[in-house]
């Protein structure tokens, strides 16, 4: 297992995008130390901030974390990347495979445009987790994003496909969703704002938009498949999918093929 040990809080935001186990396995420790990671004129390289111990394996551990570590695991294609602390924004951006685990919390836009693999954040995540960057066409795009704690506003904004699990979320969860599945504990006001397609399954929610119409309490077959998919990730949410649920269809202000499931109140 290769390890990058953070020596001290970084003096500026660092861009760790592309620092994947596969890349580091192809480099010597001296070569890795020269990789640029700074985002200012200071010209910081990896060796300035991290102690580097590489053994060519497909598992990389970031010992220590900090909210200034941006784009951790961005572009990950395979292997495992474990962060033993917090990370900054755009965790796992554009990743296509592999496993990314964060023991702490993540900044905004975790999992944005990630097409494959699994991202797990044990703590909280900032706003727009699984959501689209400003001006981007899509947020989460096929990956699985599991957030143990609470996320900020606009969870899964413009999400296109894939699966998001979050302990709780702020307002506008699933806003502008193109498609995909989002499961959460309590979410704030106006879930599914402007969603075209996709599924929201929540334990509780704040105020509903008037453009969501209640469609009844049918026990749809797809909920059984969803429960089976959720079971390995979260027994809590798998059980939620099998409870008696009320379905709202929306957002009827747009395409209206999305849906919001919540337990019968």
């Amino acid at each position: 297992m290769s390890t990058l040990t953070l020596r001290e809080p970084p003096p500026e935001r660092l861009d760790l995008g592309g620092l994947t186990p596969a890349l580091l396995a192809s480099l010597s420790e001296a070569e890795a130390a020269r990789l640029p990671v700074g985002t200012s004129r200071r010209g910081l390289v990896l060796g300035d901030c991290f102690g580097i111990a590489l053994d060519g394996s497909d598992t990389l551990t970031l010992a220590g974390g900090h909210e200034r570590l941006d784009r951790v695991g961005a572009g990950l294609e395979s292997g495992t990347l474990v962060v033993e602390g917090d990370v900054g924004q755009r965790l796992g951006q554009d990743m296509t495979g592999g496993t990314l685990r964060v023991a702490g919390s993540a900044g905004p836009f975790a999992g944005t445009a990630a097409r494959g693999g699994t991202i797990t954040v044990a703590g909280d995540a900032g706003e727009g987790a699984g959501g689209a960057l400003h001006g981007a066409m899509a947020g989460l795009d096929g990956a699985t994003l599991v957030i143990g704690g609470r996320t900020g506003a606009r969870l899964g904004d413009r999400m296109r496909r894939g699966l998001i699990l979050a302990g709780a979320a702020g307002d506008h969860a699933g806003s502008r969703m193109i498609a995909g599945t989002l499961v959460a504990g309590r979410v704030g006001d106006h879930p599914g704002y402007g969603m075209r397609r996709g599924t929201l399954l929540v334990e509780a929610h704040g105020a509903l938009l008037p453009s969501f119409a209640e469609t009844g309490t049918q026990d749809l077959v797809f909920l059984r498949l969803l429960a089976a998919t959720l079971r390995p990730l979260s027994a809590r949410f798998a059980d939620l999918a099998r409870r008696a649920l009320t379905r709202h269809g929306g957002d009827l202000a747009t395409l209206g093929k999305g849906e919001l499931f919540a337990p019968l109140s």
Partner: protein
């Protein structure tokens, strides 16, 4: 389905004469579906409806039957289910039949859902046929796709909720149709009992179906006929009322012949089903007037698969 049978050469099983001949079978395009419903009864309703009028690919477009009843823990959605097999001449013909049958018989059945019955990681997986991806047009733009666990489904709004159907289903390479056995007996009731026992044994083999009514065909056919344009006509050599004529294959004591036809997802399953049927039939044959067992072929030049009865006399390896 048989036309010619070779002369006997002293084989027997459980004291019943077994002719030293072979069944000639053909490569087919085959697939399997898992149909589920709220209850086992309604899963079976969907299955029997979609496998109806599917005895012979020549006249029905497909040969289909029920392979197995599945417990809730054996189906993708945890509801009672039935696995059905469907065979056609080729993948294109099979696709057309699949769409018609699922569209008319499964989509319409209350509470039903439809899944691929062949594993996507099956080493013998062949071309995939679009199923839910075509049925979705019934949804008139209201259907939605959902990808779960690596598989893609279509959810089409219907009047009891939704019809859930997998986007596409894989065919299997190596499917074989036309394995057969003919039971030559002294009387109708006894021979029917023998054939029923053979059907029950053959149906217990996974991946094999017997598409004819109750698994049995009484109107075996030969290729062509005396009437111009007939593709097939009655197998006169085995009709008891034509005994004594030139070309009759029946000894005087045989008064009835019944045939079973087997389609399966692999040649091995055809052989296993024929072996099980042969042993079951001969096992009770003496008590029910069974005179001999034979098999039908077309001279051996039409079908690639030859199942020699000689090879099926022993127990399965």
């Amino acid at each position: 389905m048989s036309s010619v049978s070779g002369p006997g050469a002293g084989l027997s099983l459980h004291g019943i004469r077994v002719e030293d001949t072979f069944a000639e079978a053909f490569d087919m395009a085959g697939t399997a579906l898992v149909l589920t419903a709220e209850t086992a009864h309604w899963a079976m309703v969907a299955a029997t409806t979609m496998t109806g009028f599917a005895t012979s690919v020549i006249g029905c477009g497909a040969e289909a039957g029920i392979d197995a009843v599945l417990a809730p823990d054996e189906t993708p959605d945890g509801r009672p289910g039935v696995r059905v097999l469907l065979f056609g001449f080729d993948a294109d013909g099979l696709k057309g039949q699949l769409l018609r049958r699922v569209g008319q018989c499964v989509l319409t059945s209350p509470g039903s859902a439809c899944y691929a019955g062949i594993a996507w990681d099956d080493p013998n997986r062949g071309k995939a046929l679009k199923l839910g991806g075509a049925i979705r047009y019934f949804g008139d733009g209201f259907s939605v796709a959902k990808r779960l666990g690596g598989r893609r489904y279509w959810r089409t709004p219907v009047m009891d909720g939704e019809f859930l159907c997998e986007h596409s289903v894989p065919t299997i390479t190596g499917a074989v149709g036309g394995g057969n056995l003919l039971f030559l007996g002294r009387d109708f009731r006894g021979t029917l009992t023998v054939a029923e026992a053979a059907v029950e044994a053959a149906r217990a083999v996974p991946g094999a179906i017997l598409p004819f009514p109750g698994g049995i065909v009484r109107s075996g056919s030969k290729v062509g006929g005396r009437t111009r344009g007939m593709m097939a006509s009655t197998n006169d050599a085995y009709c008891p009322t034509l005994k004594g004529r030139a070309g009759s294959a029946l000894p005087p004591e045989v008064d009835v012949v019944l045939e079973i036809v087997i389609d399966a997802l692999s040649a091995g399953s055809v052989a296993a089903a024929m072996r099980a049927a042969l042993h079951a039939a001969t096992g009770i044959g003496a008590a029910h007037g069974l005179v001999a067992v034979t098999a039908g072929h077309y001279g051996g030049n039409l079908g690639r698969h030859h199942f020699h009865l000689r090879d099926l006399l022993g127990e399965a390896a």
